[in-house]
Structures are given as C-alpha cells and as structure tokens.
Symmetry: none
Subunit: 218 residues, 4 copies
DNA sequence: AATGAATGAGCGTTCATTCAT
DNA sequence: CATGAATGAACGCTCATTCAT
C-alpha cells in the first residue's frame, strides 16, 4: 500500500491540480500555478502527464476506483435491489460531499468533455455506472421492480439528479445539506418503479433496512 | 416581428456562434472562425458583443425566452399538475431536439459556467425554471401530489434527468429517440409523488389526457 | 473675424482634441472619445482632419499664430533687446499658463515628434522662434550684449528653460507659480550676456523698465 | 563585473530595444521587431519585462546609474561650485553624445511620460539631479554664487538647456558639435549667478582650471 | 530524475479609417 | 454635409510545451 517517491509526487500533482482546477476553473488555471502550489517544477509535471488536459483526465482515476470498489463491496452485503440503489445514491453523494474539489472538477470539467469519453478514467466510471444498471436489472428479475421499466432511464434519473444536485452545490453552495435529499430521492424513484403486483406494500415500510445500511457507511 | 438590419446581423452572429461553439467547443472555437462562417468581420462581432464569453452568454437569451413563453402559454391550457409537468418535460426535450447546437452549447458550456450565473441569460432561465416549481406547489395544494414531497428535489429530478439525457445525446448521439423517454420519465416521477390517499388509482390511467396534450404539441 | 459654421465645428474639434489629448495622452485618447466629447460624429472629424496625427498637428496652428502675432506687436513697442527678451519670456509663459491643455499637448506630444517637423504648424512656430534670435542679434549689434555670445545657444537657453519648467508644470503641477520665475530667469541670462564694457552697470538696475513692460501685458 | 547569462540576455534586449525605439519611435516599434533584431523570441522578452512600456521604463536604469556614479566620483575631485557645475554639464552632454540612441529614448519617450514618473528608473534620475541642486546650494553657502538666486531655477536652466539642445540634436542632427556649446553655456550661467561682491573678477579668469577637468574626462 | 530557461504558435481585442446612405 | 455602421490590419501578450543541463 505504501507509495514510492514517484507515486507520491504524482499524487501531489493530481491533488494540487484538482484543487486549482476546482477553484480557478480549468481554462483559467495555469500549469505554472499548479507547479507553484505543488512546489514542483512545471517541467516535472510534464514528466508525469503529457498535457494539461491529460492531467485533468488523470484526476478521476483513483478516486473513482475507490468509490466503485467501495460500492461493489457494500452491494454484496445488502439485500434487495431497492436497498442497493439507496446505498448507491448514498455512496455517490457522500463521496462528492467529502471531496468537493474532486466533485467540482468532475461535474464542471470532465462530465461535459467529449475527449474525456475516450479516456482511461472514463472507462472506469462507465464500469462503475454499470453496477447501477445491474442492480436495476436484478430488481426486475426478482420481481421487486416492474417489468416494463427502462433501466437506462432509471439509471439516468438517478445519475442525472445526483449530477444536478451536486453541480448546483459546487457552483452555488446550495443545497447545504445534500444528504437530506438522499432518502426522498430514492423513495420517489423506488415508488415509481416498485412492482405493486408482487408487493402491494410500500417501499417506505422497508426503511429499517436502509437505516442499517446508512449507519454502516460511516 | 420583422427584424431590422442590425438585429438580423446580430442574430446571424449568434446563430453562427452557436453552431461553431457546438461543433468545435467553446475554447477551441475562434472568433475568426465565427466571423468567416458568418461572413462578417471579426471587428463587427465586437460591435455587438464585448467579449467572446459575452457572445457565448448571449446565446440563450432569445431561445430560452421563446421556450419559456411557449411553456407559459401551454400551461394555461392544461388541467392538472401532473399533466402540466408532462407538458414541461415534453417542451424541454422537444426544444432541445429541434435545436441540437443550442442544446449542446447550453449543456456543455453554459450550465457549468459560474460566470454565467450573473448573466441576463441565466436570469431568464431561472425565471423559466420557477414555472416548474410553481406547478409542483400547485399539485401539492390541490392534493394531486403528496403533501410531504420536496418541490426542490422533484424539480431537480426532472431537470437533472433531462440534462443528463440531453447531454448524453449531444455528446454521443444516444439515445437517438429522446422523445420515447418522455412518457416513462414522467410516469415514474408522478407515480413517486402521486397522492394515493386522495386518488388510489394510478397515474397511468390518465394517459389518454396526456396523449392529447402530446399530440397538440406538434 | 466671425467664423462660419464649418470653422466653428473645426474649432470645436480642435479644442476638444486638445483637452482630450492633454488629459488622456495622445495614444491613449481615441477618436471616438473626442467625437463623443465634441458631440460630433467620428466620421465628421475625418471630414476636417485626414488622420488622428493630422488632428494633433493642427492644434498649434492658431494658438501659436496668436502668440507670435502678439509677440511681434509688443516687441515693436519695447526698447532694448534685454527688455524685449523679457517680454518674450513673459509672453510665452503667460500663454502656456493660460492654456494648460494646449501647453501639455505642445510639450508632451508635439515638441518631440519628428513628423511634426515637416508640418504647417511647426513652420509657424519656427517663424515665431526666429523673433527671439532676431532680438538677440539686435542686442549684439547695438552693443547691449557681448559680441562673442552664441545666439543659438542663448535662444536654446531661453526656450529650453521655459520648456523644462512648463513640462514639469503640466506633468506634476509644480512649480505652482510659474510667473515668479520669469524675472530671475531673465535676470540671470541677461547678466550672463550683458556687455559690461559698454555698460558697466548691471542689468538689475534697469528693473523699472521691465516693470512697466510687465504691467502693460495684462 | 562579469554578467551571467541571464543578465547578458536582458542587456541585449534593453540595448536592442533602445536602438529600435530610437530609430522607429516607441509606438511604431513592435515587440516582434525588437525580438527579431535581438535574435530572441518575443515570449522571452516577456520573461524579463512585463509589458512593452515596462521595457521602455527599464532602459534608463543602468545608463543613468553609471552616469550619476561617474558624476559623484568626479564632483569629489573638483574644487569650487562653478567648476563642479561645468563638470556636470560636460558629463551629461558627453554621455548623451556617446549614446545617441539612449539620449533619443530619454528625450523623446521617457521625459514626457507621466507613467515614467512613478518608476524605478525615474527615481534614480531624480537622485542624480539632486546632485546639481546640492552643488548650487554649496556655491551659495561658500559665497561663490549670489545669495538670492533660486537653485531650482538655475537647475532648471541647466537641465532645460541641455534637454533642448540634445532633443534638437537627436531629432534633426543639429548642432553637430554639441560639446562646443558646453563652455559658453556654463559661462553664461555662472556669470549670471556669480557673486561679484566677494569676487569682483570674472568667472572666465578661471578657465585654466576647467580645461584640466575637461581633459581628464576623455 | 528534476528543472530553469526558452519559445512557438496563436488569439482576442482595439481603433483609425472608410463608405453607403 | 453629416453620420451610423462596418472593417482591415495589427499587436501585445499568454501559456502549454520543450530542451539543455
């Protein structure tokens, strides 16, 4: 787990770049600025990253991997597609809340960059996102969710809402308490896709289960 | 309705800029490129728009106004908050589908630009978005929607999902048939917020109403 | 003496230009600025003056002529080269003091412009300056001044000192009381060139004569 | 005394800029021209000087310092305020004659630039000029000069005349033999301020002393 | 491996000037 | 005659990137 010298320098550059990009904007930020802040020469940055955009694209690699690994780990422990979806939403939002600079870079400079699509970092993200689709598919198979729902749409609703909320948050500082929206969000979606034929009860009855998940995420 | 010569030139610049920004990206695009494409001198562009970014920020003004005016008009004709929400989603997506370059500029270069927030154009957009909140509030008041829903969240779900879908569409070309997602999207959300105490029936029963609205939107 | 409409417009442009050039600097000033201030269109300025620099070069024409005409008039009334030189210095400094914007333009933007040398305006100035040389030559001929002085040098001392003082004044505001330096300046120079062989007395003894000249200049 | 590589480059830029500004004029000259002439990239110029005007303002720093240091050195060796003033005039004119490009830049583009007043280079010049005032004050104290002369005026006469002569020279090429005006200039001024009460003799009797100073300045 | 120094390449922007009305 | 509108022609300046040490 210990990083060698090179990895440490690389990490320092990425962390500094994340911070500088988030605060000043990608285009406004300069390599010289990042170098100065990281106390590393500009030339050295180019030892590790081939271009300024390459540096930007390297930012999500690790953080995303960590998030999606954590996600995979938890999903195994949780029963039921609905509960799993809730965990996913929670983990996403929690991760962004804890890394606001990273969230800003992701939401403002990566998610809308066509060149990012062909990137290592984006592939990792796509893989992570597939976990959502898988959970939805699972929910349909087990009869938890309606048969006729469109998994791509549901996934887009989840991601889109999160992105919208987090983007608003990094841009304006609102809403201050992102986490408070997790339960209502997931409730609304689950209720919209819940298969009442198999289970006429309401999703909200299963809250206790969710609470446990929630507390285990500390 | 007829535009004078200056207004025509201004419009031509905005239209060309929209196209060029959409195709080449805001930073990659140059004023010289826009000028050449619009067959207008670079200097003339600066007669009308003080900076390149100012030109970018001027793009949404008119289109947005048109969209939100149309929206206000239709909302008056439609009964029921649920039906109104559906119309809103339809109008948004339809408008983006018909103006892909504008959609691209909005989704990729405006929505994530902090400086845009202080802009005339953004104020117009904010006013338009308030219409959504108003409809949701209305739905709660009339008992159509549950009492305990968070209007900000519901609005964010609607906008976030649309943004996510449209962004994907302008970036990758998928999904090709955005419109097909309108019904399922609105169904899912309405079902999530439908007040079953007052109306145990399902939203989906009201489809015929929606269909009419839909066809009237041509 | 009455000016026709065209001459009035021309004069207004020149006066405004003098003011704007003095306050903002020749290069920093724009034609648009002058046009706005003079409430005349930019294009109209080009009706009267072929280029921005041409406008600058047109500024001294009239003022200089007036100054040198006044000078010629007074010189005829005054007896003695020394007294005449004093009158000259007085008239120069007085004229600059009364037209600070003109003085600034002359000292800061005309006197050091090589292109100005070939100009109508400069020819007028040269003619005016010749009056100084003529007075010095006269003083030598009449035996008032030493035989071996260099008229070009004496003229340069007079002009150079005035230019230096006035330049300082327009740039910094000091010295506030330019007029107070007229007497000491002329005293020092005259004493330096006074022919003591013919008149062992001192120039300063002739003060009463100067005083009269001075009061006649009101 | 040996300059490192960077200092050499900086010096090369300043020298080239001095030449180009002198020959083409400050506004007409372009950075690209200077870069080409100095065989250094335009960007490199901006490594050392933040703006074109900053480059202009950096020109006098060194040359002025050298002149004023030389001046201070010689003034210590020379007896008598009058002799000292002569040395000062000589050193000024000699320095300009040997560096005509520098003289041109100083006379045409620096001395009349308000922004230059706040500059490092101007502060050095002011300090140098104070030496003149000091010598004049000294002359008054020792009784060499009259008690009632205005040191500021005398200093202005010396500087003004030099500036006028040098400006004429750099603009038109005349007078070709500036040095020949040194003696008459200083004679005239000294005679104008010489205290005949203490020393009824004439300044011109002291010529032999001056001659020695003069020859030591080669 | 690390960096100080150097630069190529380009772009937004400004105005003096012109022209059609 | 007067001008609103249009533009040609430059130029200063910035950085991402490279190179020599």
């Amino acid at each position: 787990m210990s990083l060698n010298k090179i990895e440490i320098r690389k990490k320092k550059i990425i962390n500094t770049a994340t911070k500088v990009f988030a605060q000043r904007g990608f285009n406004e930020a300069t390599i010289s600025e990042i170098a100065k802040e990281a106390k590393i020469s500009e030339a050295s940055i180019y030892e590790y990253f081939s271009t300024k955009e390459g540096l930007l694209f390297s930012i999500p690699a690790e953080s995303s991997q960590t998030l999606f690994d954590t996600m995979a780990f938890h999903l195994k422990l949780i029963q039921g597609a609905a509960n799993k979806l809730r965990a996913i939403v929670f983990l996403f939002i929690d991760s962004y809340r804890k890394n606001p600079d990273f969230a800003a870079v992701l939401m403002l400079y990566l998610k809308h960059n066509k060149k990012f699509l062909d990137t290592e970092g984006h592939i990792a993200i796509k893989a992570g996102i597939k976990q959502i689709t898988r959970v939805i598919d699972q929910g349909i198979e087990t009869g938890e969710f309606k048969e006729d729902i469109n998994p791509y749409l549901i996934r887009s609703m989840i991601l889109g809402t999160i992105e919208h909320l987090v983007t608003n948050w990094v841009m304006t500082g609102n809403p201050e308490n992102l986490e408070e929206l997790i339960d209502p969000l997931i409730d609304t979606i689950i209720q919209g896709i819940w298969n009442t034929k198999n289970d006429p009860g309401h999703w909200s009855l299963q809250r206790p289960v969710k609470r446990q998940v929630s507390s285990s995420e500390k």
